[in-house]
């Protein structure tokens, strides 16, 4: 029983990107939403924006703080999750599902090889100092 889907790849900054489809979705991990606490605002790029790996493309805000979201991979934004504007708390309740942030067309699928698998991410969480 794993919290972290096998068909996602993960970053050290706690973003996920789905793999195996025509397009990929990007979000923040369940661990990230727990660390942030009550999420009250989500700032996302516009459709058509270009993501570059490691660059901030948006932010999520909890009651207390603002956190940048970093692109795991490069790609073009095909869709953004507009529903989060009205219900940012979805990120707390379903970070890996309805709380997705953007949908992208990957520019370079090879970049996925540099990310962590679910098992690696869980091991990373287990060993990460908090």
């Amino acid at each position: 029983m794993s919290t972290y889907p096998e068909n996602f790849r993960y970053t050290k900054e706690h973003e996920w990107v789905s793999v195996g489809g025509e397009t990929s979705r990007i979000g923040i991990t369940d661990h990230a939403q727990k660390e942030l606490g009550d999420i009250v605002y989500v700032d996302l790029p516009k459709v058509g924006a270009a993501l570059s790996p490691g660059a901030a493309f948006g932010s999520v805000e909890s009651v207390k703080a603002v956190s940048d979201i970093y692109a795991p991979v490069s790609g073009e934004v095909l869709a953004v999750n507009e529903a989060l504007a009205a219900t940012p708390e979805t990120l707390n309740s379903d970070a890996h599902g309805d709380g997705w942030l953007v949908e992208v067309r990957l520019a370079n699928a090879g970049e996925l090889g540099g990310l962590m698998t679910a098992a690696q991410y869980e091991a990373y969480l287990g060993g990460a100092a908090h």
């Binding site: 606490g37 009550d38 009250v40 605002y41 805000e61 909890s62 009651v63 207390k64 603002v66 504007a85």
Partner: protein, 367 residues
């Protein structure tokens, strides 16, 4: 952690850790920021009752036949108006009129005043008062002798009443009584930093943990929860209560901080008076105002404010208001731009987001 100075801990520190609190460095103190979630803790205080460890706050005791004279000399409010058992909010100022700190002054007796001061300012406050003591008073930096627990919310009275024979309903807002709570001597003040009814209870450090546990049990039927500094901040912001280092500091005077009501020019001389009189004469140029966001975005502490595309001030404190479902804040603006309805723009990540000046407090409890 880096080789920083060891954080100070309250007598409840290990209890917070057992309760699973997330701890943060708050002005050099290792304090709980949240136990569950900030929103939940916030609503608990508005609707039921919450428990806060505020033992980091400092206490300064002033004793002597001329205690009143010293308090009047160092603070802006009129301490001579206080009766024994009464408290008020006041300011400690520098000669130039900026804040050393904002404080609560409790009159215990004609020759004894008890000050509650901000945690990170307590040593500075003590030195400031001691340096002004030409009244032969005993000034004691008494923080280590006290723990302080705040019980806040509509069910605060019913919770605390189970632990004391003191008739709490007879203590009016901003009054206090000394008595026994949970079998130990306590100072029970009907004060708080949440905009809600409640009490702040001062006890000896060793009595803090038994009191906390007894309050947790007593408040069980009302849904009591421990609450951290996160909720304390959203609660006080909704009630437009100032936070040192944000709404007030050494560079801002009470007149600029919209706290003219704590300055009593009708009393005798006090430190900072001349500067405030000069400022009143000339008129202030900037003033604290309240705003709510109109556009999408949250104005946070320190964000720039623009009016008509030009720098006009900054956000002193800002964030979501859980009881209002809005994003709110306090800010420093040119005084002629503080009228209700004034449009301003908060620079959120270099983008101007519309906001407007509104009346405060944002939240006021039903009496």
């Amino acid at each position: 952690m880096s080789e920083s100075v060891a954080l100070k801990a309250t007598p409840l520190n290990s209890l917070h850790r057992r309760l699973g609190a997330r701890m943060v460095d708050f002005g050099g103190w290792d304090m709980p920021v949240q136990y569950s979630q900030v929103m939940d803790e916030h609503h608990t205080v508005r609707q039921r009752v919450g428990l806060f460890d505020v033992s980091h706050m400092g206490e300064i005791e002033i004793r002597g036949p001329q205690a009143l004279a010293l308090v009047e000399h160092v603070s802006t409010n009129r301490a001579a108006s206080l009766e024994a058992g009464q408290a008020h909010y006041s300011g400690l100022l520098y000669e130039h009129g900026g804040f050393v700190d904002d404080i609560l002054v409790h009159k215990v007796a004609d020759d004894h005043f008890f000050l509650c001061v901000n945690a990170s300012n307590q040593d500075k406050d003590y030195e400031h008062i001691a340096a002004a003591n030409r009244f032969d008073c005993t000034v004691e930096n008494a923080g280590p002798r006290y723990a302080q627990i705040a019980v806040q919310g509509p069910a605060a009275l019913a919770t605390l009443q189970k632990l004391t024979a003191v008739d709490l309903a007879s203590i009016r807002y901003y009054w206090f009584r000394d008595g026994e709570v949970n079998g130990v001597p306590a100072r029970i003040a009907r004060t708080g930093y949440t905009g809600e009814d409640g009490f702040e209870v001062y006890v000896a450090p060793e009595a803090a943990e038994p009191l906390w546990l007894a309050l947790t049990a007593a408040g069980g039927e009302f849904g009591i929860k421990p609450c951290g500094l996160g909720a304390r901040n959203t609660l006080r912001l909704e009630a437009k209560m100032a936070l040192y280092g944000h709404e007030i500091d050494a560079t801002l005077t009470p007149l600029e901080a919209d706290l003219a009501w704590i300055v009593k020019f009708g009393k005798g001389d006090f430190i900072g008076r001349a500067a405030l009189e000069a400022q009143r004469e000339k008129g202030i140029r900037r003033k604290l105002a309240a705003f709510e966001m109109v556009g999408r975005g949250i104005g946070r502490d320190g964000y720039e404010i623009q009016i008509d595309g030009r720098n006009a001030g900054w956000v002193t404190s800002g964030g979501p208001a859980p009881s209002l479902g809005k994003n709110i804040g306090l800010c420093c603006l040119p005084v002629d731009k503080t009228g209700i309805g004034q449009t301003i723009h908060v620079m959120v990540r270099n983008q101007p987001v519309e906001a407007r000046v509104v009346a405060a407090p944002f939240y006021k409890r039903a009496k």
